[in-house]
């Protein structure tokens, strides 16, 4: 077998459901394999760790040409229909139901699971300043607000994955 990965640092930069979950699944999956994991939340990805909003992350139904209804093998959803009020909430509800059946936790619970598994969570300083946020706005699992330089420092010796 080739060299085992020992450490990953994952950047979550998007605030939609499909923007957040891949990073969380990869981070959690790393810990499950005994791989050290850091997750760095930046730009709208920060919403996954903001106390007030982390429980209401939604899937985007506009500008997503792969979106199909009523399921993944159904008809393409025209962007104009995706814009109907409630469409995003509905699609999110459907997807959450599917994930719950697979025992994929809701975002707040997933963040707690990764933290308890020894994964480290960080927020990006540039975005925190730009969005006028403070450390108190984040869920307690967030270790620290980091500059990009500090992020590179702690990512040293491992792989960096941007999502």
């Amino acid at each position: 077998m080739s060299d085992k990965i020992k450490k990953v640092s994952i950047i979550v930069s998007k605030g939609s459901l499909d923007g957040v979950y891949p990073g969380l699944i990869m981070g959690n999956g790393a810990r499950m394999e005994g791989i050290e994991a850091n997750i760095f939340f930046t730009f709208f990805g920060l919403y996954a760790v903001l106390k007030k909003y982390m429980g209401s992350i939604k899937i985007a139904t506009v500008g997503n040409p792969a979106m199909r209804v009523p399921d993944a093998k159904g008809f393409p959803l025209p962007t104009i229909l995706g814009a109907i009020p409630g469409m995003s909430a509905f699609a999110t509800h459907m997807m959450n139901k599917e994930m719950d059946a697979l025992d994929i936790p809701p975002i707040p619970e997933f963040i707690e699971m990764i933290h308890d598994a020894g994964g480290k969570l960080y927020a990006c300083k540039a975005t925190v300043d730009m969005f006028h946020l403070t450390k108190d706005d984040f869920c307690p699992q967030v270790e620290k607000v980091l500059t990009v330089g500090e992020f590179y420092e702690l990512a040293g010796g491992g792989q960096i994955i941007f999502t």
């Binding site: 499950m32 394999e33 025992d103 699971m113 308890d116």
Partner: protein
């Protein structure tokens, strides 16, 4: 398919050391499998193994982390402390079940 003797019992395993035939598993085999991972089984380990065993018999799959938490009442932190660097995989192997197939 490799065959080896654990605690005096011959067992068949796959290439990664998971038992292929659960009927060859017993408590002494579990202790020997745990020893291969450097783990000495305690009552707290057995709570996990017993839950995996009962849940596998009921559903036919190794429970994932969330099910361990919610149904088995075993916190994530405990699982990582008891079976370091790969809690579900190690616990499944020691319990005599196949490698977990879930991503979460």
């Amino acid at each position: 398919m490799p065959t080896k003797t654990l605690a005096g019992t011959p067992v068949d395993t796959d290439d990664e050391g998971y038992l292929v035939n659960h009927s060859q598993w017993n408590k002494d085999v579990a202790a020997a499998l745990a020893a291969e991972d450097g783990i000495t089984l305690t009552d707290r380990h057995w709570k996990v193994i017993d839950f995996i065993d009962a849940d596998f018999k009921e559903r036919g799959v190794v429970p994932g982390m969330r099910r361990m938490n919610k149904v088995g009442n075993i916190p994530t932190k405990d699982l990582y402390a008891l079976f370091p660097d790969g809690p579900i995989k190690k616990a499944a192997r020691i319990s005599g079940y196949p490698k977990p197939v879930s991503c979460v």
